[in-house]
Structure formats: structure tokens, C-alpha cells
């Protein structure tokens, strides 16, 4: 079952493709300019600090500090990429590393623009993740860029599982980057604050085992079938820089009821 909400999205026509192709380079240029300016500013600040501290060693210090800034950035990037490599175990097959270019202009339709498209092998419906966990799924791909529907969009749904108890749950967006909704878990089920929620792999989009977030705000009503709870997403969406687009999940690769590791 395709639990994502991309069912109502029409395929981009020629005019759409041209318009999207025009905006992607502008976004790339703007991102590069802002990042470049920020880096230059940081280096400038570092240089000024060195001058204040030691005039004699000014030149040498400034070079070293600039190198340190560069190395720290490279190390952080390395660390992020290294953590992304483990997705090979979860989802074998070709993956595409992409950079987030921008956030699309309607707060009611939460999508990110990434700098990889059909030309790089990205297709609609592919799962998008970071080292921390699930980001969303590709909603629309054009030649050089794609739009990603983020998991906290109110129309987004995915199949999840409580890691500790193996109970299957539904996860939906609540329109808030700090909270997802946990659905369809029976009131009698064991659930605790802080339980880790991972993807179950039953939705046909996300492979099993990807981190979604941690359970928060468990409320057991006195009536009704299901309990209410939220999920604090594992991904900090305001800091997403690079993402990995996972290979499409082959048909029949998802667990069925007979190979289940637990029960609802």
C-alpha cells in the first residue's frame, strides 16, 4: 500500500519542467553565494581574532586558523557522509546523495527542493533519508532537481514499528516539524515515552529499520480503540543539508503477514 500522499500529484508537463529547470540553477547560485559569504565572514572573524591576540604571528596564525576552519568543516561533512554509508545494509542498490536547495513556498505543503533529479536516477516515490533518519519521499522529479514531501506534512503517512515491542503503528505528519502523530496502536499495547519508532517497510516506500523518531506524549483514553501519542522526529529538519535518496524498493521485498516479527 502506498501510504504517501503523492497520489494527487500530476506529472510535470513541458512548461513545468522549463520553469523548474530555470529555478534550480538560481537556487544553486543563491545557496553557493550565501555559503561562500558565510565562510568568508567566518574566516574574516577568525583573522581579526588572531590579530588581536598576537600581531607577530598574525600571518601564520590566520593561515592555520583558516585551515582549521576548513578541516573542521570537512571533518563534519565526512562524519555525516560516513554515517550515511550504513544505509547500504538497510537498502542495497544505487543511492543518490543530494543537497537541499530550498524550501517550497507554501507552508501548508511541506516540500524540500534537492539538487538531484531524473538525470541522476531520482524517481518519484523514492525514500529520502539522512544519517539521523527518515526525511520524506520524492514527490516530483525533473531533469536536475526534485521535490521531497517531508514526513511531517499533514498529508504524509508511513508504516512504522515500535522497536522495543515490535508493534506495528501508523505514522502521520501533523504539520509541525517537531511532532509526528502515532496512529492505530491499540490502547492495551505496551508503549512508553522515549520508545524508538522505526519504519516497518510495509508502506512500499521506506525500507524497514529506518529511524523515524521517539515516542512522546502518550495518552491512554478511557474509551476508544487506539491510544494517542506523538513522535519527536529524529531528523532536525531545519538543519538538513545533505540527504540520501534510496533506491526504489523492489516489488515483493516487503515483509508480509506471514513473516511478521510481531503483531499489531
Amino acid at each position: 500500500m502506498f501510504l504517501g500522499s503523492s497520489r494527487s500529484v500530476r506529472e510535470p508537463n513541458l512548461v513545468d519542467r522549463i520553469a523548474l529547470a530555470v529555478t534550480a540553477p538560481v537556487q544553486r547560485a543563491a545557496v553557493a553565494t550565501i555559503d561562500g559569504t558565510a565562510n568568508a565572514w567566518h574566516q574574516y572573524v577568525s583573522l581579526r581574532n588572531v590579530r588581536r591576540e598576537n600581531v607577530v604571528l598574525e600571518e601564520e596564525n590566520s593561515k592555520l586558523r583558516a585551515d582549521v576552519v576548513g578541516l573542521a568543516e570537512a571533518r563534519a561533512e565526512n562524519e555525516r557522509l560516513r554515517r550515511l554509508v550504513h544505509y547500504d545494509e538497510i537498502s542495497p542498490g544505487p543511492k543518490v546523495v543530494a543537497r537541499v536547495l530550498g524550501i517550497n513556498p507554501d507552508p501548508n505543503r511541506l516540500t524540500l527542493r534537492i539538487d538531484r533529479g531524473e538525470g541522476d536516477g531520482v524517481k518519484r516515490g523514492q525514500a529520502v533519508v539522512t544519517a539521523d533518519g527518515v526525511v520524506g519521499q520524492v514527490l516530483r522529479a525533473t531533469a536536475s532537481a526534485s521535490d521531497v514531501l517531508v514526513v511531517f506534512d499533514p498529508n504524509c503517512r508511513l508504516g512504522g514499528r515500535i522497536q522495543r515491542t515490535r508493534s506495528r503503528v501508523g505514522v502521520s505528519g501533523a504539520g509541525d516539524e517537531q511532532a509526528l502523530k502515532l496512529e492505530y496502536l491499540l490502547r492495551t499495547e505496551d508503549l512508553e515515552e522515549g520508545d524508538l519508532v522505526v519504519t516497518s517497510g510495509t508502506d512500499g516506500v521506506y525500507p524497514p529499520g529506518l529511524v523515524v523518531g521517539r515516542v512522546t506524549g502518550v495518552q491512554r483514553q478511557t474509551s476508544g480503540m487506539f491510544l494517542n501519542a506523538g513522535i519527536l522526529p529524529a531528523v532536525n529538519f531545519t538543519r538538513v543539508e545533505e540527504v540520501v535518496v534510496l533506491a526504489p524498493q523492489p516489488a515483493g521485498s516487503f515483509p508480509t503477514r506471514t513473516d511478521g516479527q510481531g503483531r499489531r
Binding site: 513556498p105 498529508n155 516539524e177
Partner: protein
């Protein structure tokens, strides 16, 4: 030619706005640059020219949302037509008055988007209008900067008669 220029400017502003929002964070309200452009068109463009340009601007906004439904295309034209009516009552000849006009247009646009969206989407109804005040404020600020730029590019002509409510 003016239509092409309007489209180019719209695409440029939408691209820059999306990057700006990325750096500020998802939680912040968006800046409705397209509403500012439609408001400008409603003040200065002819009926047919402005309606076609507004349609195109709305189409691009709809496209950039990632899930085009036609809502913003419709709303851009409606906002343009309402703006034309409002524009006949007021006199907008400075960046400050244009910013107020664009903010009013943004309130109308936001309410219509929420109202129509709520009919088809329960989530949109629940999401409410909490982000609208900030969105309107940011749009007003952006309009202050956009007004001289749009005027310079000559989108539409200066209206001869002052508005009905002008002193």
C-alpha cells in the same frame, strides 16, 4: 514582453524566497512575493494583461509548492480582480502605501487559501491561520523592497486618476 518579464521576476523571487526560508528554517512563515506581484499588477496593469499575468504568477506559485492543485492559480486571479476593485478606492503611489496594499492582499489571499483548502483538507482546516500575521508582516517588508524594483521594470503603467478614497 511584460508578461515574460513578470514570469522571470516571479521565478527569480520564488527561487530566492525558497532559499531564504531554508536558511531561516521551516518553522517560519513564508514570504508571499507572488501576492506582492499580483497586488502590483492589480494597481497598474490592464484588466486582460493583468489577469493573464496573475494567472501565470499563480501557476508558478502552484508549481513551486511541489503539489500543484490549481488553488493558487485561481487565487492569484481572484486576488488580482479584488485588488482592482480595491485599487479604484485607494491611491497607492509610494512604497509604504503599496506595502499596506500588498499586506491587505496577502490577508485576503491567506484567508481564501485557508477557506478553500479547508473544504478539501481536514488537516488544512486544523492547521488554522496562526502563521498568517507573520506571513503578512514579512510580505509587507518584502513589498517595500519590491515596489521600486517592479516600478523600475515597468510592469504596468502609472494610473492617471487617484483612487476614490484618496484625499
Amino acid at each position: 514582453m511584460k508578461l515574460a518579464l513578470t514570469l522571470v521576476l516571479t521565478l527569480l523571487f520564488l527561487a530566492l524566497e525558497s532559499v531564504a526560508v531554508k536558511y531561516v528554517g521551516l518553522g517560519v512563515a513564508r514570504i508571499d512575493v507572488t501576492v506582492a506581484i499580483v497586488a502590483f499588477l492589480s494597481l497598474r496593469a490592464g484588466l486582460l494583461e493583468g489577469a493573464v499575468a496573475s494567472y501565470a504568477v499563480g501557476y508558478l506559485l502552484d508549481l513551486m509548492t511541489g503539489r500543484p492543485t490549481g488553488l493558487y492559480t485561481l487565487l492569484a486571479v481572484v486576488t488580482f480582480l479584488l485588488g482592482r476593485v480595491a485599487g479604484s478606492l485607494v491611491d497607492v503611489r509610494s512604497a509604504r502605501s503599496f506595502a499596506l496594499f500588498a499586506m491587505a492582499a496577502d490577508v485576503t489571499h491567506g484567508l481564501l487559501a485557508w477557506g478553500i483548502g479547508s473544504v478539501s483538507s481536514k488537516q488544512m482546516a486544523l492547521s488554522g491561520l496562526s502563521g498568517l500575521p507573520l506571513e503578512v508582516f514579512l510580505t509587507g517588508l518584502a513589498s517595500l523592497l519590491l515596489y521600486p524594483l517592479l516600478k523600475r521594470f515597468g510592469l504596468g503603467a502609472e494610473r492617471r486618476d487617484p483612487g476614490l478614497l484618496s484625499p
